[in-house]
Subunit: 200 residues, 2 copies
């Protein structure tokens, strides 16, 4: 069996919900020839950033998330606005949410699909070394965010114990650990750049 | 600053979209006292399963995903139905999507929030050792799924090269690698159970 994409017969934008739009596609199965409705969330790409200080601490954020009506422990991130590049968004969100800036170029940790079944968008992850506190947070009215520094070597334990539970935050750290081929809990404190993923 | 949950003032279910419902909450910021609308996708919990054969190969699935209108490489999984436990769902989806069954108890790889900003649901991950082909697939009309066996030790490379790009699939493998404290690409072929996460 070879898998083929479905043919889209019609497309209708239903309603806007501030950070996403609901779209209904009618598409036809190449296997059965029958048509079905698909409901898709359209939104701009998302960006997450792992800011790392010279002491190998991650600048993390505690914030209220209304989906689960609870406080989460995450890395900074947000939605690409206007003509921003993913790197622009990462640097802007880092500054707005934490007041931190970074001394070095961002290092790409790749992209993933948050949910390819019902979302069309992608999420980029970045590493920023040399993060330092440069000023105050600039939060919008719907954001309550607290900055917290955690040793990078403790991250796998926080994930394992459920303290870090946002799927896209796990993805960023997994990509970081894969890039540096680090054994969990045994992190090289100097984090040399690998040649294949660009340097700073 | 200490982060507090927001108080929900009203809640309204807008519309049903087959695998999720759209809900609008009006909630009040404990910091500013102002009220805002939040748009939440309600759905049942999701389950993903890493089926591992006695040869340390992962039973993976290639399928069409309409959100990105492309073919993805994933592990089996799906939505909890009716009174199912997460384990029931994992075993059912494995069988329906691949025809594989498993000789051993499932091992929990924890839970994550797919997106705590706009979704209330959680996603469970499991490892199933001793996976074996027991019969045919049982696909529904909207599913075109092809089974493919991949060595577990190749998974980090497939992720790094972008061939595996579904965030919740990365999460399951990351939790597996954390649980077994495996160095990327250097996987113990016998995968002994750790005492702390239950045995088979």
């Amino acid at each position: 069996m070879s898998i083929k994409p479905w043919k889209v017969l019609s497309r209708k934008r239903d309603k806007s919900y501030r950070i996403f739009n609901l779209r209904t596609d009618r598409a036809c199965s190449p296997r059965t020839g029958r048509a079905y409705d698909f409901f898709i969330l359209e939104s701009s790409p998302w960006v997450n950033i792992i800011p790392l200080t010279d002491k190998n601490e991650v600048v993390m954020v505690r914030q209220y998330r209304h989906g689960i009506q609870d406080i989460t422990l995450e890395i900074p991130g947000g939605i690409i606005e206007g003509e921003e590049t993913p790197e622009d968004t990462a640097i802007r969100e880092l500054c707005e949410e934490t007041g931190y800036r970074t001394t070095s170029e961002l290092i790409s940790l790749g992209m993933v699909y948050p949910n390819p079944a019902i979302q069309q968008n992608i999420c980029y992850s970045f590493l920023a070394k040399g993060a330092y506190l440069a000023g105050k947070q600039h939060l919008d009215e719907m954001e309550d965010i607290e900055t917290i520094l955690l040793p990078l070597s403790d991250i796998p334990r926080f994930i394992r114990e459920g303290d870090i539970s946002h799927s896209l935050v796990l993805v960023a750290f997994y990509r970081l650990f894969i890039e540096y081929e680090m054994k969990m809990g045994h992190v090289d404190p100097h984090l040399p750049n690998r040649g294949t993923i660009g340097g700073d």
